[in-house]
Amino acid sequence: MRNYLIHNLLENSAIGYSDKVAVKHGDRIINFKQLLDESKKMGPLLKKYGVKRGERVGILLDKSIEQIISFFGISFADAASVFINPVLKKEQVEHIIRDCDAKLLICTKREWERNKMDVPLKIIYMDEAGKEEVEKENDVVWWQNVRQESEPGEVKSVQISDDIANIIYTSGSTGKPKGVVITHRNLIEGAEIVSSYLEITEKDKIISILPFNFDYGLNQLTTSISKGGTLVLQKFFLANDLLRVIEKEKITGLAGMNPIWVKIFNEKFQATKQYDFSQLRYITNSGGKVPESTVRKMQAFFPQTKIYLMYGLTEAFRSTFLPPEEIDRRPNSIGKAIPNVEILVLNEKGEEGKPGEVGELVHRGALITRGYWNDPEKTEKIFRKNPLLKDQNHLNETVVYSGDLVTKDEEGFLYYVSRKDSMIKTMGYRVSPTEVEESLIKLDGVVDAVVFGKEIETGDQIIVAVIQSNSKEGDEKQLMAQCRKTLPEYLVPKEFHFEREFPKTANGKVDRSLLQKKWD
């Protein structure tokens, strides 16, 4: 059968790979048939418990097999899932529940106790068994009772690919996150396109350390399930645990981001033993640019592994990738458009720029999501009509304006410059923070760097650098002197601050806005 809805991916794989391990978490495993059966208990349960077509169901769980059962179960119930990261504080969890008007929350008793909120919600506890299946007074259902006592139900879905499968809330540590609305088609196409250029097959054993409320992490799940691969769930905490698991489990694919590479290559905790990564077929990077010096470290540390540098935004899932064979020549490139996507680089006038000209990256084609839940204003700003339609512009075509500045070279390879609103205007120049950060990261003692502009009395901006370093105090004068050796004056930061470790957002990205707020 064709894949129209996300649970079709699971159904199809359960036919071809029924006894194969679909998901592994520590010592727990579940094969495709079992995963399908459990999801087909969850679907009818949700319906029996009053969940209607299109309603939002929250999943507030740590990395676990139960998250995945819930994800597919919700699809079987014709509803939309919303992964909520358990590292979020109560206030942020409540914001998400209210914003998407969730009617039911799948969680554990402990998570609910931590996050009890005054919102009418039905609850399913995944971890414990209660006295009976349903506790009417508290509106609580105990999943462990249900799964023992029920059979997988036959489900008749009425939804189509255009319907909403999931809403993704990504957030900084402060502020109210917006929900990006994802259709079944987005997820299925995402899995298909990514599987094709990463050459994913049922032989793959993919490690999942990124959260599922992050499109990059969610795509690993859909990709692995759709191809009959095994997904190994792992909570990322310390680099050595990760490296050990990759070796022990013979992991074939690792998806990471810069903060993860920073941890792995932190000189202070440099792995001294030689790991056998011969099984590791590929590594991907997304969620932020990796400095060239780090790319070289990755190549040295994982010599037999193909490295894919990629770029994407939640609003359009994934936009570009760099073929691994280009990485020696173009370590700074984010590559070219993925299959079935076209990338436009538009200058200030809204026209396609020439090679080398800085412009905004605009994504056209597959994987464009529906917009932001509850936010027509922001949706209109980002999801716009294709500006190149010219005299037929009554025709409807939506493209996504990324808000990122890039350049394209003569051969069509793209290079990330900076966030459009992050460019620093200093001493008459327009400076990309990324450029300064990369120079700083090359220096001794600099583990990571975040750079931003700060306005001074004259109305001009100065470059402020926040350095993550292992030493107790940073030497501002020394760093400035080192910068002056390799950088023109207008690129040298005029202010330095030092942190032991950068704060991260719930997705694990460096929380740049928090750092900027602190040191502005």
Partner: protein
């Protein structure tokens, strides 16, 4: 620097009260209860190295060693000082 396990334990309880405003005991599951996350562990390691004049090697840095205050104390005591 000779310190008793009780002293290290109390110092760590104070540390977590100060850093993350959370009251823990020697058995609290630090990772599971979200007292430390991957961000805080590097800071904690630096604090331990400075305070107790020990040096950690990468083999020390595992989830198991930072599971509870009890396990951290055991790790520190095991290091030559």
């Amino acid at each position: 620097m000779q310190v008793s396990t009780a002293e290290i334990e109390n110092r760590l309880i104070d540390y977590f009260k100060e850093k993350v405003d959370t009251v823990v005991d020697s058995d609290t599951l630090l990772l599971e209860e979200k007292v430390i996350d991957s961000m805080g562990v590097i800071e904690l390691v630096a604090f331990l190295e400075e305070t107790y004049k020990v040096e950690f090697i990468d083999d020390d840095l595992t989830v198991d060693n930072f599971k509870t205050i009890d396990s951290i104390v055991k790790l520190i005591i095991s290091k030559p000082r």
